[in-house]
Structure formats: structure tokens, C-alpha cells
């Protein structure tokens, strides 16, 4: 994963009045032509701020997302599954590395980003505030949460900021392994014993609401982000992304004989869009604001890692090395 469900606050565009109108017009024309913006190019302060926020959230989601799946490495059924899951989790942490670097090119240090994660100032994908009870939950994450993330990441890879797009291209290539691995795990459960099928059905029932939340609040109620769409920071509305995901994966879930816990879920043949029970956005807000079942644990695990890794960083500290902003 996990470039999804970014939370955007209402965008205040008043700062744009302070930007040089000529430079702003040239910047927007460049994006309109499909060209990429690079770190040393001129950019409005608002573009920089929103990109940092989005890429940083994405990076945090990768390392926090590694926690619920990482839990299952030692208990994955069989040696081969353990190896696969370990490789996948390693990839996710690697994705965080690539994404932090991309955000750093915009001028925020990695240290500051980690600080903001630990203090709760920065968010990460809401879905990782839920627990993975059984092996089947881990399979749900690998197949479907990653699938949702891929929908977002493929869209974002066509965005306007060069370093983010290049990181996403590498990430998307690795995600193809995650998706195949996840689907493979689910097919094994689906074609297995009644007990195995039941396990996966229960995982679906637990994860469906967070999965619908994953793409962020419905367009009807979400903050206005037109300027971010125009600047190709955000590449589709939340509802568009959700619809794309449903279109690709609901038939695959049904094909395996599982049900989804929403009696209103169906594709409208005239609009070609999916219809569903409106997700509980109050629950979404509560979890984002720290009330989810695992928020405390996730951050606490990061804090302990920070504390326990301190002596290593201290031992490594070499006077000649210096933090500088990455080039591209």
C-alpha cells in the first residue's frame, strides 16, 4: 500500500493572492500540458504544503500498514507463506523510505515527519487502526487493501510532482507481487474447508466498512479540493476511486462465493456506477481522531521502536555525515 484515504482539510486559497500571478500562470500551464514539476522549479506555497501533507501521510501509512500484517509473519501457515509475507512487509517499509525521500525534496526533513507521526499531528491511512484477528484478516489486507491502494497509486503516478511520480512507479511495480500473493492466499482459503471459507467471510465482514472508508469521505461531504485536482495533486475524487475499486474487485469477491455485508451494494446499469449504503462517516472521523481500536497501539509501537533504536543511531552517528535535502 497505501496511498489512499488521504484526508484533506478544506483548502484555503487566500495564500494564492500573495503569489506572483505570472509565475502562477506559467506553473499552471506547465501542469496543464502534462509536464512534471521538479523540486527546484517555482511552485506556489500551497502546492508545496499540500504535497508534503499527502506524500507524508502516504509514507506513514506504509510503515504503520506494515504493523497489522507484520503481526502474522510468525503465524502464517507454512514456511512459504512466512517467506512471502516477510518479503511483502519488507516492501511496504521500503515504500515508506521512497515516499519520505520524495516528501523531503519539498523541504520537510524526515526527522520532522517522524516527529509529527509520533505526536499525532500527521495522519496515516485510517484502515490500519483496525486489528487483524485471524490469518484471514491478513489475507484480506494483502489482497484487497493493497488493491485499493493500487487504484490510488496508479492514479497518483500520473500526478504533477516528479519525485512522487517516480517513487510511485517503483512502488506500483512491487505492488503487483502483493496483489498476486494476496489473491493466491484468498483463493486457497476460498477453495479450502468450510472453516477456512467461514474465516475469510468473517474477515470480509469485519473489514468492509474500513475498506469503504479507505477512499475518504463521499464527495458530497468532503472538503473542496478542486484546486488540488487542477494542480494534479489529487487525481480523482474519493467517490471515483471507490467506484473504480468496487468495479474491479466486487465481482472477484462474489465469484468466490462470498457475500459483502451491504444489502444495497449493486451496480446501477444505467449510470454504470456502484450504489451502496452510505458509509458511517462519523465513525470514520472518530477513528481518524484517535478513537479507533488500534490507534494507541500503532503509535506506541512506533514510539518504542524510536526509543529502542536510539542507541543504534547514536552509535552510528558520524561527524562527517550531514543531513541535506535530496536532489530529485
Amino acid at each position: 500500500m497505501y496511498g489512499g484515504g488521504n484526508t484533506f482539510e478544506a483548502i484555503r486559497t487566500d495564500s494564492l493572492a500573495q503569489e506572483d500571478p505570472e509565475k502562477l500562470a506559467a506553473f499552471e500551464a506547465k501542469i496543464e500540458r502534462g509536464e512534471k514539476i521538479e523540486p527546484t522549479d517555482w511552485m506556489p506555497a500551497l502546492y508545496r504544503k499540500q504535497l508534503i501533507r499527502m506524500i507524508e501521510q502516504h509514507a506513514h501509512s506504509e510503515i504503520i500498514g506494515a504493523l497489522p500484517e507484520g503481526t502474522w509473519i510468525t503465524r502464517a501457515p507454512g514456511f512459504k507463506r512466512k517467506l512471502s509475507l516477510m518479503a511483502k512487509v519488507q516492501d511496504e517499509v521500503g515504500h515508506a523510505q521512497l515516499l519520505y525521500s520524495a516528501a523531503e525534496t519539498l523541504g520537510k526533513t524526515r526527522e520532522q515527519m517522524i516527529d509529527d507521526l509520533l505526536s499525532g499531528k500527521s495522519k496515516y491511512s485510517n484502515i490500519f487502526n483496525y486489528p487483524a484477528f485471524t490469518w484471514a484478516d491478513s489475507c484480506f489486507i494483502s489482497w484487497l487493501v493493497d488493491a485499493g491502494a493500487i487504484v490510488n497509486q496508479l492514479a497518483n503516478a500520473k500526478g504533477s510532482y516528479g519525485p512522487y511520480c517516480r517513487a510511485l512507479e517503483r512502488i506500483c511495480a512491487e505492488e503487483s507481487f502483493h496483489l498476486k500473493y494476496g489473491h493466491h492466499c484468498v483463493i486457497f482459503l476460498a477453495t479450502g474447508t468450510d472453516k477456512q471459507r467461514q474465516m475469510f467471510q468473517e474477515a470480509i465482514n469485519r473489514w468492509w466498512a474500513p475498506m469503504m472508508h479507505f477512499f475518504g469521505p463521499s464527495d458530497k461531504i468532503s472538503a473542496h479540493t478542486e484546486i488540488l485536482m487542477k494542480w494534479k495533486v489529487k487525481m480523482g475524487t474519493n467517490d471515483d476511486m471507490r467506484n473504480q475499486f468496487l468495479d474491479m474487485y466486487v465481482p472477484k469477491i462474489w465469484e468466490l462465493g462470498f457475500t459483502l455485508p451491504d444489502p444495497n451494494l449493486k451496480k446501477n446499469p444505467t449510470t454504470n456506477k456502484w450504489e451502496y449504503t452510505e458509509p458511517d462517516w462519523e465513525e470514520f472521523k472518530r477513528v481518524i481522531n484517535g478513537e479507533g481500536p488500534c490507534n494507541k497501539e500503532r503509535i506506541e509501537v512506533r514510539r518504542i521502536a524510536e526509543e529502542r533504536g536510539r542507541w543504534v543511531r547514536e552509535a552510528l552517528k558520524a561527524p562527517q555525515a550531514a543531513y541535506v535535502t535530496p536532489l530529485a
Binding site: K30, E35, K36, E38, T40, D41, T71, T74, K80, S84, A87, D91, G94, Q97, L98, S101, A102, R110, E111, L118, S119, P131, F133, G162, R166, R170, A173, E174, S176, F177, L179, K180, Y181, H183, H184, I187, A190, T191, L256, E297, V301, R303, I304, E307, R308, R310, R313, E314, L316, K317, A318, Q320, A321, A322, Y323, V324, T325, P326, L327, A328
Partner: protein, 205 residues
């Protein structure tokens, strides 16, 4: 903490409440270049943070070449990359170099020159020059390494500042056949699925 994960339950409790990192314990920044195939040029892929160039090399291998074909990488301290202006449209970055007169008595060294030929893409190795300073290296690149296309950004790196892959390290990228589990192609379940779907169809009929 009460977690579903027994390992989390075994974690020690912190002696103090940590909400911020210890200031400035971040490590240095190193740029990573990857050669994907024998006959392809090295290209810039990103950065790693490390305490020194040796660790940077190890982390670069882990971060950038776990999944992709690779025959060789190198890393260099970001501060050792000399960078031209970034241009666009029809402006050639080489035409924006400030005037510079090299001192004839200086010691010559090898420099690697990287070009950005397409905005939005990676910097690619254009070739090697000998010069006494990075400024001079860029001027030599301007004379000798251009092939008609505009260059939007030029990087010059002193070769002595580079940590190359040593010949005996090339085996790092020889993936063992039993490591196929890291590839999407190792997860074929189509037959299983087809059998299952056919059976289900029968049951429903």
C-alpha cells in the same frame, strides 16, 4: 498495552513519554544510482540516509534493488553532486553555466557527468571527463558529451567521491532460484480457481 499481537504485549513500557525524536539524530543523505542491465547506463533512482557511505551502499541495495533487475549500483554523498540550473522548454542547461576559467596548474581528476534529457524522468549517466573542478567538468561535458538534444539539468560527480560496486559484489544481484516467492509470477492459482468455479456452477445447477 493489550494487543492481539503477543510480541506487542511483550514490549517494554517506556521510561518516558516520547513524542519527539532526539533532535538532529538524522543521518546523512546519499544519492543512489542504479545500472539495470549490462548495456544500460547508470541512472539516478533516489536517496538513502546513512551514517557513512558504506552503510549507504548497503541500504541502497536493499531499498532500490530488491525487486528490479540490477547489475551494479553506486552511491555518493549528496553534497558531492555539483548541480547546474534546471531548465525547461528549449533552454539548454549547459548554456546557463556561469563563465569559468580553470587554473591550468590544478590536479586533474575523473568526473562522471549526468544529464536530464526528459523532464520528469531520471538523470542518466552521459559519460566521464577529466577536470580539476566540477565547474570545469561541466564545461568539458558541454563540449564532449552532448548529442544534439537539449539537456535540462547537468550533474557532475568526482569519481573519488563515489562508492562503486566492487567486482566481487556483483553476486549480490544473482537471485537464487528458490527466491522466486518474491515475484508475482510465483503465485499462480488459476487452475485451482477454475476447478472451484466449475464445481460451484454444477452445485448451483
Amino acid at each position: 498495552m493489550k494487543s492481539l499481537d503477543p510480541r506487542v504485549n511483550r514490549l517494554p513500557t517506556l521510561s518516558r513519554e516520547i513524542t519527539t525524536k532526539v533532535p538532529l539524530d538524522q543521518l546523512g543523505t546519499y544519492e543512489v544510482f542504479v545500472q539495470a542491465k549490462e548495456n544500460k547506463p547508470f541512472q539516478h533512482e533516489g536517496i538513502v540516509h546513512a551514517s557513512d557511505i558504506e552503510l549507504a551502499f548497503v541500504l541502497a541495495k536493499e531499498t532500490f534493488t530488491r525487486r528490479f533487475t540490477c547489475v551494479s549500483i553506486f552511491v555518493t554523498d549528496t553534497r558531492d553532486v555539483y548541480v547546474s540550473a534546471l531548465t525547461e522548454g528549449t533552454v539548454n542547461a549547459y548554456d546557463t553555466l556561469p563563465p569559468y576559467t580553470p587554473n591550468a596548474n590544478n590536479i586533474l581528476e575523473n568526473y562522471l557527468i549526468f544529464h536530464l534529457l526528459k523532464r520528469g524522468k531520471q538523470h542518466v549517466l552521459a559519460g566521464k571527463v577529466t577536470a580539476s573542478t566540477p565547474q570545469e567538468a561541466m564545461l568539458k561535458g558541454k563540449e564532449n558529451l552532448q548529442d544534439g538534444k537539449p539537456v535540462f539539468n547537468v550533474w557532475a560527480i568526482r569519481e573519488s567521491a563515489i562508492r562503486h560496486t566492487q567486482p566481487e559484489e556483483m553476486v549480490l544481484w544473482k537471485t537464487l532460484p528458490d527466491k522466486k516467492y518474491r515475484d508475482a509470477s510465483d503465485y499462480k492459482a488459476g487452475d485451482k480457481l477454475t476447478r472451484f468455479l466449475a464445481q460451484r456452477k454444477n452445485e448451483i445447477l
